[in-house]
């Protein structure tokens, strides 16, 4: 299978031998159930996505943003999916597949906690025991999501190695998998990792573009001029792009986290951004050859973004390939643009986006302000990959700490912070 290399030079299976048989088993299951709908897997998956997940999600015309940018802006509302982000499409697909494969236990990594909560929800729904690995740092900055996973009955295993964030959590989950592979399925949270994960996760997420393409044609009779999505690992991105890839005239923009800055501090081993498509280089991480943030030796850099879900040094191999072949344009938006976009969308459209998602909207504004050059055209579809409830504390902190033009007056937040604190 790895010989197929659907993503050019990217992809592959760079994992310990102990996991290879599991990948072969998974690949076979992927082909049988997902690609060939054996035993009605795909039908059951779609039915559960509809009844449990709430699909289809709407494609909404955004009145205020369309006026502001003088283009027709359509929002694909993945924030309305159960759990609050696109993540459930994949988590539900994989947990269901694990069930078809006869696995008895689910493990997953999580950074922001969105994939972890989606997996915990799917596992509860399908009655599978579930353990989530999460870095200690992320555990303390994403408290509500830790609660949600625990409430759904999942164990949350704190990862104390390294900086205690997503990268370490993935490594740790792979280690668990290597020890328990026979009865355990590892639900990877994005289009990363060894084959067949990148293709499989994309297929589960592709429902986003399948619906959006159809919905836009129903609403306008035509295809969009461009499609915009944020990119961390890239699962919402490829999900939103997939069915448009063949439509050559549709521009595809993958918006990465520019973080504080695009430059790298080799000494400290830190890239103050997560822009692996824009600034990274080919390498091998977490089972796949892809574009990475790494130093000149090949050591992986610590990434940074105000949004925990984009804070990752790698990216899906398929996106790397589509960027190399000029089908997808990699762009990036820094923390400040993203925060401004967060507030703008909240205030003008009544949709509080995830900070990850806010990056996609930051790109629209950057183009409008002439800070980025892109021919977005008349009609733009933007994926609202998730809602921002999980980010409230971060946004309040970061907005108070910086000078965010579009932010509201922060006084009441401080006041509430105090009285809530006092009340305990």
């Amino acid at each position: 299978m790895s010989t197929e290399r659907p993503f050019g030079k990217y992809g592959g299976q760079y994992v310990p031998e102990a996991l290879m048989p599991a990948l072969e088993e998974l690949n076979e299951a992927y082909e049988r159930y997902v690609l060939n709908n054996e035993d009605g897997f795909v039908d059951e998956f779609r039915e559960r996505l509809r009844d449990f997940g709430g699909r289809p999600t709407p494609l909404q015309y955004a009145e205020q943003l369309s006026a502001r940018y003088d283009r027709d802006i359509y929002l694909k509302r993945e924030d309305l999916l159960h759990g609050g982000a696109h993540k459930l499409n994949n988590a539900l697909g994989q947990v269901l597949l694990a069930k078809y494969m006869g696995k008895e236990r689910i493990i997953a990594e999580t950074g922001a906690g969105q994939h972890g909560t989606a997996t915990a929800m799917a596992a509860a729904h399908l009655d599978m025991p579930c353990e989530i690995y999460m870095g200690e740092t992320d555990i303390s900055r994403q408290r509500p999501n830790v609660f949600r996973m625990r409430l759904n009955g999942a164990e949350v295993n704190p990862v104390t190695t390294g900086r205690g964030t997503l990268k370490e959590a993935i490594s740790e989950t792979m280690r668990d998998w290597a020890a328990t592979v026979e009865r355990t399925h590892y639900v990877i949270g994005s289009i990363v990792g060894p084959a067949p994960f990148p293709s499989m996760v994309r297929d589960f997420q592709a429902v986003i573009s399948e619906e959006a393409r159809e919905q836009l044609r129903d609403q306008t009779g035509s295809l969009p001029d461009s499609v915009v999505a944020c990119a961390g690992g890239g699962s919402n991105t490829m999900g939103t792009f997939h069915h448009f890839v063949k439509d050559d005239d549709v521009g595809l923009y993958a918006v990465e986290a520019g973080g504080d800055s695009l430059s790298v501090d080799e000494e400290a081993g830190v890239a103050p951004n997560s822009a692996s498509l824009s600034t990274g280089e080919e390498g091998v991480l977490h089972g796949a050859r892809t574009r990475l943030l790494q130093d000149s030796d090949g050591q992986i850099l610590e990434s940074h973004s105000v949004s925990a879900g984009l804070d990752y040094a790698g990216v899906g191999p398929e996106l790397a390939h589509l960027v190399d072949t000029n089908r997808v344009s990699p762009v990036n938006v820094d923390d400040e643009l993203a925060l401004n976009a967060f507030h703008r969308l909240s205030q003008t459209e009544g949709i509080i986006p995830a900070l990850e998602t806010a990056h996609a909207f930051g790109f629209l504004e950057a183009v409008e302000a002439g800070k980025r050059d892109a021919a977005l055209g008349e009609t733009v579809v933007v994926n609202v990959s998730g809602r921002g409830d999980k980010d409230l504390e971060t946004v309040v902190e970061e907005t108070t700490a910086r000078d965010i033009d579009a932010g509201p007056d922060m006084d009441l937040f401080r006041q509430v912070g105090r009285s809530a604190g006092d009340g305990k």
């Binding site: 994992v15 031998e17 102990a18 090949g298």
Partner: protein, 276 residues
């Protein structure tokens, strides 16, 4: 000595340490202690920031070595400076191999490794399927490429690995990551049985911590034992407790001796080896 040649003499003891753990100089002494303790081959780890196959003990060693400034170039200097008898194998992850040198690809790394006297490579995140390029480079520069077989490895995959492997085959004693354990797995014997007819020497690793383990593994039919975490634990203990380097080195030497002795004791109980 070439890797296969090592095994032709007696059961091989193959210790593992992370180069530069906790510092360049200390690490140098510890590797020398391994040699004194009877190491036949030394797997010398080049630390990578995302060691997905390692358990907690070796993860921490890697963090110490990286914090101590270990890089691929320093690693090669380290190996050059090292004056020991045992044959040296470099254990690291593929991204470091791939990125080394001016142009992408494994060639520069292998060339440099050969120059400094490394005889073989173990790359735990590089299965046989992804190894063609590295295999070619190793062939060109006369290095062996060691592969791992796991308890889960299927028959089909065994064939694929058999085609690629050279030097020795690393038999993973159990599922999971590296780390010293109190018991040995039945699955070791099972795996050894499955590859009984392979021409390449069989070294067993993952969890071997004592002379008794070593003996049992060799008795079960292995040609060598690979021991990492049990040794790294001593380095860690020395570092944590501020024990002086000489003392730690001598503890390492003793442990090495215990393991080597165990392996030799195992040999005498083995059915007469058919020498190849």
């Amino acid at each position: 000595m070439s890797l296969e040649a090592v095994f032709s003499e007696e059961s091989a003891f193959i210790p593992y340490l992370v180069a530069g753990d906790p510092t360049y100089e200390e690490s140098m002494e510890y590797v020398e202690a391994l040699a004194r303790g009877g190491a036949d081959i030394i797997e010398l780890g080049l630390p990578f920031s995302e060691p997905i196959a390692e358990g907690p003990t070796i993860q921490q060693a890697i963090v110490r070595a990286l914090d101590g400034g270990m890089t691929p170039d320093r690693y090669f200097e380290f190996v050059e400076e090292l004056a020991v008898d045992p044959t040296l194998v470099c254990m690291t992850y593929y991204n470091l191999v791939y990125q080394y040198g001016e142009s992408d690809g494994p060639e520069s790394f292998v060339e440099r490794a050969a120059t400094v006297g490394i005889e073989g490579l173990v790359i735990p995140d590089l299965p046989a399927e992804e190894a063609d390029q590295l295999r070619a480079a190793c062939d060109e520069h006369g290095l062996d490429l060691v592969f791992i077989v796991a308890p889960t490895t299927t028959q089909e995959r065994l064939e694929r690995i058999r085609e690629q492997v050279s030097g020795y085959i690393y038999v993973q004693a159990r599922l999971g990551t590296t780390g010293a354990r109190a018991d040995l797995s039945d699955r070791t014997a099972e795996t050894l049985a499955r590859i009984e007819d392979w021409q390449v020497p069989k070294a067993v690793g993952f969890g071997i911590a004592t002379g008794d383990h070593a003996q049992a593994v060799i008795t079960a039919g292995a040609d060598g034992i690979i021991v990492g975490s049990a040794l790294v634990d001593i380095v860690a203990d020395g570092d944590n407790k501020g024990i002086n380097t000489t003392e730690t080195a001598s503890r390492i030497e003793n442990k090495a001796q215990e393991l080597k002795d165990g392996a030799l004791a195992g040999t005498s109980q083995q059915p007469a080896p058919e020498k190849q």
